[in-house]
Symmetry: C2
Subunit: 316 residues, 2 copies
Amino acid sequence: MSPTWRDRAAALPDRVSIREVGPRDGLQSEDPIPTADKIRLIDALSGTGLSRIEAVSFVHPRAIPQMADADEVWNSITRADGIRYSALAPNLRGARRALDAGFTEIEVVVSASDTHNRNNVRRHTEESLDELTEILAVLREAGARSEVIVATSFGCPYEGDVPVSRVASIIDRVVTDGADRIAFGDTTGMATPRRVAELLDVVRGAHPDIPLLLHFHNTRGAALSNVLVALEYGITEFDASVGGLGGCPYAPGASGNLATEELVHMLHDMGIETGVDLDALLRVAELAETLVDRELPSGVLRAGPRTRLTPKPDGL
Amino acid sequence: MSPTWRDRAAALPDRVSIREVGPRDGLQSEDPIPTADKIRLIDALSGTGLSRIEAVSFVHPRAIPQMADADEVWNSITRADGIRYSALAPNLRGARRALDAGFTEIEVVVSASDTHNRNNVRRHTEESLDELTEILAVLREAGARSEVIVATSFGCPYEGDVPVSRVASIIDRVVTDGADRIAFGDTTGMATPRRVAELLDVVRGAHPDIPLLLHFHNTRGAALSNVLVALEYGITEFDASVGGLGGCPYAPGASGNLATEELVHMLHDMGIETGVDLDALLRVAELAETLVDRELPSGVLRAGPRTRLTPKPDGL
């Protein structure tokens, strides 16, 4: 006899912390939009109850022109009390720029797949890990909190499956090097319930105390099922992107990031708090759709929450 | 300490039976297509390893013009050995037509929500249940297998939440009346992991032996998470629609049925057999997209399975 919903719900987290990544991970895969629109988007997100927003990345403008105005965006938004804003830095130079800009939470990236890492930053995973050692020391010395995002944690579009043991050894290394937190990036939507569970089986056992965050793309429709498994493992931190902003570079037309409102919608229905006002978030998703001028893939944006009723037809 | 993936997988079914509903539930919500194209679609589906196909419905052509050619479609397809083809009948007249056409598996429908039932068939749920008593007797006498689909089992777009006790009492009634099988219809995509679990908690306890089938729409992105919960309850039968054929009448632009290839993709990755050749199914999804002449919402159709690799960029 399987446990009832009441038993299951009691074993799940009471609260989940969502990091909104639409302004960074989302917009970097959309056609560039004006600086003023980015500021408008972030300020709107700051009013939804979200407690964490990844605002910008400090990456070379030739690599990602969408983030060329990172400093201006960061200096122009209205920073709300109680919200943790963070920036992504692909290398030491970016990390220093993020520190100079005043960020105290900084994400750095390495790809578990060597081919993917070489395609991203023209160096082997091992070389990136060596640079990470230096970056993590710089961040720690500056008093900033560091998070290492392990891209392609659930598979690589060039290499296919990435062995869990390889991801695990990267975690071992960066934890030793002083990473404060770890994020697993489902870069091209290859995560499945099985892959999530298999990875967490290993990592949770090896590093029971380090905070873990999961970042899913909904490329193959499985994002919320992956979240469900992660919740059962006690994971309480997830990335998501308002409206599902952000495409998938390897699959034109495929949906990218998990939409924040789909995540909030499912969690609230399960009785898990997020602090987010879903109606306010949906208004921002509408704004995001206007700003990028395309229909975003979020189902909850299209159809509305399940609690939003349709007027009864005449005569009923 | 939560169980490992190996423990979890061992507790899941080894095999799932998928009923393909694209030709019926899918096409009835698309713009009408020619009879020859419907035949082509069903014949293509018959070659994918699917073991069950809901082929047509016998409904008044004024209500659903897309199914006006049900007899012709059914008489013209090439029925493959080992595939169970079924038809949906909304009323006694439709059930008799389905029997006359030679169907031996027939789905009948009642909506758990009274408003939804009245909107569909202009009568109260109770009145439909009275007619079901008669239909089930006719089907049993004819030696056909009957399935009662309980629409709006997870919520009604007009009434909102439908109490589990109401769905459960409908099940009690139709089981007493001789229904061979029960399907729970997530008519407008209001199911969530919680709602699925809460319903199965009650129904599984009351009727441990009757076959149950779950029919999810992906309107709010939760379809595969709902499947995951249902698998944990031992459910082994699911509806799905190739390519995600079929819109949602209450939410223009929202995705409708769970795409068969997204379901197969997740199940196979979990080591659960379906008998379906995913590559063959994807070719049919492409065909379906051509036949309805619009981009279908299936992520696995867009991006390909996670095992389909991208060629490495030059120099890597």
